[in-house]
Amino acid sequence: MALPQAKQTATDERLATLNMPDAGCTRKAREAALARVCEMGLPGRRDEYWKYTQPDTLVSADAPFAALFHNDEPPMFDEFDRLKIVFIDGVFSPEDSDELAMDGVSIDRLEDICCKDIHWAKELYGVLEANGQNPVQRPLAALNTAFASDGVAIHVTGKPAKPISLIYRHASETSDAILHHVVRVESGAEVTILENGPAASRFNKCMEIDIADGGTLHHIRAQGRDHQRRAATHMFTRMGTESVYKSFTLTVNGVLTRNEQVVELTGDDAVAHVAGACVGDGEFHHDDTVFVTHDAVNCESRQVFKKVLRNGATGVFQGKILVKEGAQKTDGYQISQSLLLDEDSQFLAKPELEIYADDVACSHGSTSGAIDETALFYLRSRGVSVREATNMLTLAFLAEAVQEVEDEALAEVIVTRLQDWLARRR
């Protein structure tokens, strides 16, 4: 079917600016992804899945200008012993990165998976993204698969001693980065992956994660502060029997962020937790789009999203739990809440359930409102200033999402940062 004219034009203009890397063994997957992009067209304002987030600047031919953000804070996770992998404007920087070697894991650059003949990565590249196009289209992810210029392949075979830390630095005011990572967690293996940094003026990142039976992946991400960057990220996770996936994202500012999580529970007794906390101030649009598919028995999924918004910031949540026929004993939970600190901010949510099995417990909740006056009064009556009291209540509100981080030391770091940022305001 032909695309609407406006969509066709936008797609053509964007594609004209991109060159497919000379990609050897991933060529076939990339060409198939490009065909998907051409068939679907890039997202437009009239698409239902983009009802609350305008994709214009994510699909425009060139990346919009984004000033570099300077501050005196130490980078996130700086105090942690971790294996650092640094990308500057979407290009791997060997000088800034640690040596890509650690017990229990092998890490390679995407461009090396062909010459090193890394089978699993060759076979995974673009596969979960392609699966994730149904029933909802995610053209930006297909665009990523087709044109990703860098990325890493992480193969977890044991329990590495340190977290793997992906650091994205921003150096050019008009950089347009497309990164694609593939991760395979073998049976019984366990790893923590950290991500932080503004990355580029415009950042399109895709991560495909395949967790084998009994594998565990912890993912903790911090998306910059006070930064003009725009980002569209996708995480596609396929989970085997008794596997565990726990992801938490902290977002503080950024003009436009769309984080999509596509989780498919394909093995029995798997556990998936996806959480996010965001603090938006001023020109800020943040969109969490989550799609969890239960396709096995006795799995658990949990979505916890908290948004604090002020000065006209916008928070969006589109979450879905799909329980397929036969996925009995599913335990699905979803909560999205917003705290609106002033008149101008807005929260737009679409928390969906689609259930085809009768022996399941699925629940969802969504609330939105201002700060609790009674609680505020209580704190003030005990001598706490309005500002301090507001910060305390805000932090308490966000805590439920931060609690999803299992590692206490990491959770502590996140809470401390949040405290700092709330105290400073903008």
Partner: protein, 506 residues
């Protein structure tokens, strides 16, 4: 109902619930009245639109209005976003106007109406003789000695057969008649309000309805009047291959009150039939309207053959401050339902409520819910929806709660529960929540643990467990509403109340 009999019911689902659903699944109104009909030629085009208009003796402005709507409709596309699927409808392969031959000369009073028609309604439990009391009310302990009066407008295929108690209502100043009569007798009111809540080009089916609606009901309640009796319209589709397009317009002027009921049935047939209605309600200051529906169109057989496609647009506009509208619906029929009774809360302190029980069985599909659009300050809305799915049916709640920037201090509470009986059916929830100011509170809950905490606490304090307490609170609420239905379907609705929340999913 063989399918349901063989269904393994999961542990924890109340047997009473299963039995009640099974009972509902047996269609009692599938018979047909043999009566001579006259049809307009098949299909829809400007000539048919003009023909319908002339059959109703409409003034020219009305004909023009319809033609403009038809013109728009030809440029529109059928919506496809609902979670329903059905074979493509051939809009040219059905009749848009069908009326009993005996209605050619309009009967001057109910005594002149064809006895066959009267018998039809009697069989449905809707006697059109004023001296008779409606079935289901008789013997009710709460009913006053003389029985409760209900005025009925009976619509048979494309025409209104008659309206009861018109004289008595007139004394109170209430106008209750068919819409075709209103267009002739009260053009100033119709002109002022028609199409102001559901604009002509609102959506595909509403636009089609605007072009070809044949009859429906009209209600006007003057300022300060509390309508002395319940008003109701009973829609019956009888003719084959015929679409029914009714139009209802209810105007509640300042400080007035009216309770309106709607019932509908159709014979059992192998081919699907289209029903595309539009209901508009206008509420001025301090007005209150209760609108209740028991929708029991033929749902198709066990294999999904036949049944009514129920594509309905219903909307209330709370224009005046402190006005209040309440939608209650019990949806058990139709092969496909596409229906979202909505509230525009424009006036300050206005309130909208939506209570729905939707039951689907066999191959039925229902995509239903509401829109609460908060525009005025301090507006309140409440949504309680229960969806029950059995057999191979699909049941979707789709709703919108929108708090506009100016709707300060507004409040919404939404609760949706779904229950699946058997492992071949589906239950879905698609809520849209848009909050554009911070003094409003919006809560959407699909868990059974978050009914009104105070009421829960009260029940639990008296020794009930949580499940019992929740069931009591929600069912108690439904019961209140359902008992207010004075028609024969009150009995049917009562059965539904037996359905418990046990084993429900979000």
């Amino acid at each position: 109902m063989a399918a349901l009999d063989q269904t393994q019911v999961k542990e924890g689902v109340d047997q009473e619930t299963v039995d009640a659903v099974r009972e509902v699944g047996t269609y009692k109104y599938g018979w047909e009245t043999e009566i001579e009909m006259e049809y307009a030629p098949k299909g829809v085009n400007p000539d048919i639109v003009k023909l319908i208009s002339s059959k109703n003796d409409e003034p020219e402005w009305m004909t023009e209005w319809r033609l403009a709507a038809f013109e728009r409709w030809t440029k529109m596309e059928e919506p496809n976003w609902a979670m329903v699927s059905y074979p493509k409808i051939d809009f040219q392969d059905q009749y848009y106007y069908a009326r009993p031959k005996s209605m050619e000369e309009k009967p001057k009073s109910l005594d002149e109406v064809d006895p066959k028609l009267l018998a039809t309604y009697e069989k449905l439990g809707i006697p059109l003789k004023e001296q008779m009391i409606l079935a289901g009310v008789e013997g009710s302990e709460d009913a006053p000695a003389e029985g409760r009066k209900v005025a009925v407008d009976a619509v048979f295929d494309s025409v209104s057969v008659g309206t009861t108690f018109q004289a008595e209502l007139k004394k109170a100043g209430v106008i209750f008649c068919s819409i075709s009569e209103a267009i002739r007798e009260h053009p100033e009111l119709v002109k002022k309000y028609l199409g102001t809540v559901v604009p002509v080009s609102d959506n595909f089916y509403a636009t089609l309805n605007s072009a070809v609606f044949s009859d429906g009901s009209f209600v006007y309640v003057p300022p300060g009047v509390r309508c002395p009796m319940e008003l109701s319209t009973y829609f019956r589709i009888n003719a084959e291959n015929t679409g029914q397009f009714e139009r209802t317009l209810i105007i509640a002027d300042k400080g007035s009150y009216v309770s309106y009921l709607e019932g509908c049935t159709a014979p059992q047939r192998d081919t699907a039939q289209l029903h595309a209605a539009v209901v508009e309600i206008i509420l001025e200051e301090d007005a209150e309207v209760k609108y209740s529906t028991v929708q029991n169109w033929f749902p198709g057989d066990e294999n999904g053959k036949g049944g009514i496609y129920n594509f309905v647009t219903k909307r209330a506009d709370c224009r005046g401050d402190r006005s209040k509208v309440m939608w209650t619906q019990v949806e058990t029929g139709s092969a496909v339902t596409w229906k979202y009774p909505s509230c525009i809360l424009r006036g300050e302190d206005s309130q909208g409520e939506f209570y729905s029980i939707a039951i689907t069985n066999n191959m039925q599909q229902a995509d239903t819910g509401t829109k609460m659009v908060h525009l005025g300050k301090n507006t309140k809305s409440r949504i309680v929806s229960k969806g029950i799915s059995a057999g191979r049916a699909q049941n979707t709640y789709r709703g919108l709660v929108s708090m506009h920037p100016k709707a300060k201090d507004s409040r919404n509470y939404t609760q949706c529960d779904s229950l699946l009986i058997g492992d071949k059916c589906g239950a879905h929830t698609v809520p849209y929540i848009e909050v554009r100011n911070n003094s409003s509170r919006v809560e959407h809950e699909a868990t059974t643990s978050k009914v009104d905490d105070d009421q829960l606490f009260y029940c639990r304090q008296r020794g009930m467990d949580e499940e019992e307490a929740v069931a009591l609170v929600v069912n108690g609420f439904c019961k209140d509403v359902l008992q207010a239905l004075p028609m024969e379907f009150a009995m049917e609705a009562q059965q539904l109340v037996a359905i418990s929340l046990e084993g429900s999913v979000g």
